[in-house]
C-alpha cells in the first residue's frame, strides 16, 4: 500500500487506541463523521488544517499521522526480511507493518540487526578456527600432550609391578608433557586474549602484514614523497616481528615503491577526475599497465577518489596474496575466496580484462563493479608456461541498499552473483558450492 494513502489507516488506529468513536473524533476535529469515515478508509487525502485538527484531537504530532514509521526503519526491515525470506509476498507490506506496529517493528529490526552482527562474528570466528594454521598447530600440540599424559598416567596407575626404570621414565614423561601442556594452553589463552574482534588477533605473518597495511590504510605516505628512497623498504619491513612477515612486507613494499616511481598519486588522481575509476581507460590515458593502475588505485585514500576501491590479488593456485576490502564486500582472511569471483575466471584467459558487475550475496546485498585480469609475472621462456598473477579491482556501485538492483548491462559486460567464500555464503543452491555454509545451514 502506498505510503501516502496510509494516513487514514493511522488515524483509525490511533482513534481506536484512544477509545474514541468515529463520531466523537469527527466532532472534536470539526468535521463530519462521514468525511472522517472516508479519510479513515484512505479514500480522501488530507493535510494542512484538517490533519492538524485531527492530530490535536488524538493528542499526537501531525507528523506521526502523516509520515508514519521512519523511512529508515522501513528500509532496514525490508533489507533484513528480504535477505532471510528470499522475497516473500508479504515483503511488499513491510511499510504497513512498520506503520501499524512501530514498536514491534523496532524490536524486530533490532533483532535482525543483532542476528546480522552475531552472524558476522560467528563467520569471522569460524573462518579462523577452520583455517588458521596457528590454531591447528596449537590444538594439535595440546591434544598430543593430553594423549601422552593420559597414557603415562594410566600405565603408572594400572600396572601393578612397574620396574623402577620404567616408572621413572613415565614420571619424567608426565613432567615433560604437563609442562608442555601448560605452555601450549597459556599460548592459546594469550592468543585469544590478544584477539580484539571475534577471535581475530595478530599471530601469523599474514596477520602481521595485514595489520601493518590496515594501520596505514594501504597507503605508505613516506613512499609517495619525492624524497623517498628505496632504503626505506628495509626500514619499514624491519618493523615486522617475524622473519616471514618481514619477507612478505618487503616483497609488497618493493612493488609499491616501484609503482610510485612509475605512476605518482597526483598524476593518477588527475586522471581519475577526468575518466573516473575505469582502470582500462586510465591505463590507456596514462600509457601504463592496467595492473599498475589497479595497485595504485588501491593505494589511494578514500578522500582522494570519488568512490573507495578494494583489490584482491591471487597467484595461479588461487591463494590470495593481497586483500584490501571495500565497504560491504568481505574478503576471507584464510582459505580461498568465492569460486565465482571473476578473479579466478581470469586465470584461464590470461591478459583478457573482465568487466563484471557483481551482486554480493552477503548481508549487505551490495552491487559492485569488478575489473579483473591475469598477467604473467615471469619472463617468456621456451616451452615454459608463464606464472600468472590475477588482479580484481572492486568498486561499489552507488545504489540505495533497499532497492539495490543491477543496472542495465552494457553488451560487453557480464553480471554475476558472488559471495565471500562457500563457508560464509547464503547462496545454498550455488553450483560452485564446495562446502556447506555455516550461515545457511547451521554449524
Amino acid at each position: 500500500m502506498p505510503r501516502e494513502t496510509l494516513v487514514g489507516t493511522r488515524i483509525r488506529e490511533r482513534r481506536t487506541l484512544a477509545g474514541l468513536r468515529q463520531a466523537e473524533l469527527a466532532r472534536r476535529s470539526g468535521i463530519s463523521a462521514s468525511y472522517l469515515n472516508l479519510i479513515e478508509h484512505n479514500r480522501r487525502r488530507i493535510g494542512g488544517k484538517v490533519l492538524q485538527d485531527i492530530a490535536r484531537a488524538l493528542d499526537v504530532e501531525p507528523a506521526v499521522l502523516a509520515d508514519g514509521a521512519e523511512a529508515s526503519l522501513i528500509a532496514s526491515l525490508r533489507d533484513a526480511v528480504g535477505d532471510r525470506a528470499g522475497g516473500v509476498p508479504e515483503l511488499q507490506r513491510v511499510e504497513e507493518l512498520a506503520n501499524r506496529f512501530p514498536a514491534w517493528s523496532r524490536v524486530l529490526n533490532e533483532s535482525f540487526q543483532r542476528i546480522t552482527s552475531l552472524e558476522k562474528r560467528l563467520a569471522a570466528a569460524s573462518d579462523r578456527l577452520t583455517h588458521d594454521p596457528y590454531l591447528a598447530a596449537a590444538f594439535h600440540d595440546v591434544l598430543s600432550s593430553v594423549t601422552s599424559i593420559r597414557s603415562a598416567a594410566s600405565i603408572l596407575s594400572d600396572t601393578a609391578e612397574l620396574e623402577p626404570a620404567w616408572r621413572d621414565r613415565f614420571h619424567r614423561n608426565l613432567n615433560e608433557d604437563s609442562a608442555r601442556l601448560a605452555e601450549s594452553s597459556q599460548s592459546l589463552v594469550n592468543y585469544f586474549d590478544n584477539s580484539e574482534d571475534a577471535g581475530i588477533g595478530i599471530t601469523t605473518p599474514e596477520d602481521e602484514v595485514e595489520a601493518f597495511l590496515q594501520a596505514h590504510n594501504f597507503q605508505i605516505p613516506a613512499f609517495e614523497a619525492e624524497t623517498s628512497s628505496e632504503e626505506m623498504i628495509q626500514v619499514e619491513a624491519g618493523k615486522m616481528r617475524s622473519a616471514a612477515a618481514r619477507f612478505m612486507l618487503e616483497s609488497f613494499l618493493k612493488q609499491y615503491w616501484w609503482d610510485v616511481q612509475a605512476l605518482s598519486a597526483d598524476r593518477l588522481i588527475k586522471a581519475v577526475a577526468e575518466f573516473g575509476i575505469d582502470p582500462l581507460q586510465l591505463a590507456q590515458h596514462l600509457l601504463v599497465d592496467v595492473t599498475l593502475v589497479m595497485r595504485r588505485l588501491a593505494s589511494l585514500d578514500e578522500n582522494q577518489i570519488p568512490t573507495p576501491v578494494g583489490l584482491v590479488i591471487c597467484d595461479a593456485s588461487g591463494a590470495l596474496s593481497y586483500r584490501k576490502p571495500v565497504a560491504g564486500f568481505a574478503i576471507p582472511r584464510f582459505g580461498a575466496g568465492c569460486p565465482v569471483w571473476p578473479l579466478y575466471r581470469t586465470l584461464s584467459a590470461p591478459l583478457q580484462l573482465f568487466q563484471t558487475q557483481m551482486t554480493y550475496s552477503g548481508d549487505q546485498r551490495g552491487v559492485y563493479q569488478s575489473y579483473a585480469i591475469a598477467v604473467p609475472v615471469t619472463p617468456s621462456a621456451y616451452n615454459q608456461p608463464p606464472l600468472l598473477r590475477a588482479y580484481m579491482l572492486i568498486r561499489p556501485v552507488a545504489l540505495s541498499k533497499s532497492d539495490a538492483k543491477p543496472r542495465q548491462q552494457p553488451e560487453n559486460e557480464q553480471h554475476t552473483r558472488v559471495g565471500v567464500s562457500c563457508r560464509l555464503c547464503v547462496e545454498v543452491s550455488c553450483a560452485a558450492r564446495r562446502e556447506p555454509s555455516i550461515l545457511a545451514e547451521g554449524l
Binding site: 590444538f139 594439535h140 594423549t147 601422552s148 603415562a152 613415565f170 608433557d177
Partner: protein, 122 residues
Amino acid sequence: MVKHVLIIEDEPNIVEALSFILSRDGWAVSLHADGNDAVEAVQRKRPDLVILDVMLPNKSGFDILKDLRDNADTQELPVLMLTARGQNKDRVMAEKLGVSRFMTKPFSNADILSAVQELTLC
C-alpha cells in the same frame, strides 16, 4: 608366534607409552618417526599391523595410507590411524582411503589394545 606392530608416530612420549603397553601385551614393537620413508619402512619390516599418526613430518598419514593401499603387498595390512584431528571430514577421508580403524587423540590405553587385538584376529 609373536606378532609385530609398527608404530609410525613422531611424538616420542606417545611412542614410549604405546611401546610399553603393546610390549607388555606380548607384541614385538618397532618404531618409525618420519613420513617420508614410512612406506619403505613398512615394506622392510613387514609388520602384522601399523599404527599410523596423521600429522607426521614430511608426509601426511593420509598419503602414507594411500601408498600402502596402492601397493599389492600392503593392500590388506591392518592400519590403525591415530589423529588429533577429529573432524568428520578426516574420518571420511581415512575411510575412503581404506583405513582399518580410526581413533582420535586422546585415546585410552585399553581402547588401543582392544583395537590392535581386534584388527589382528585371523
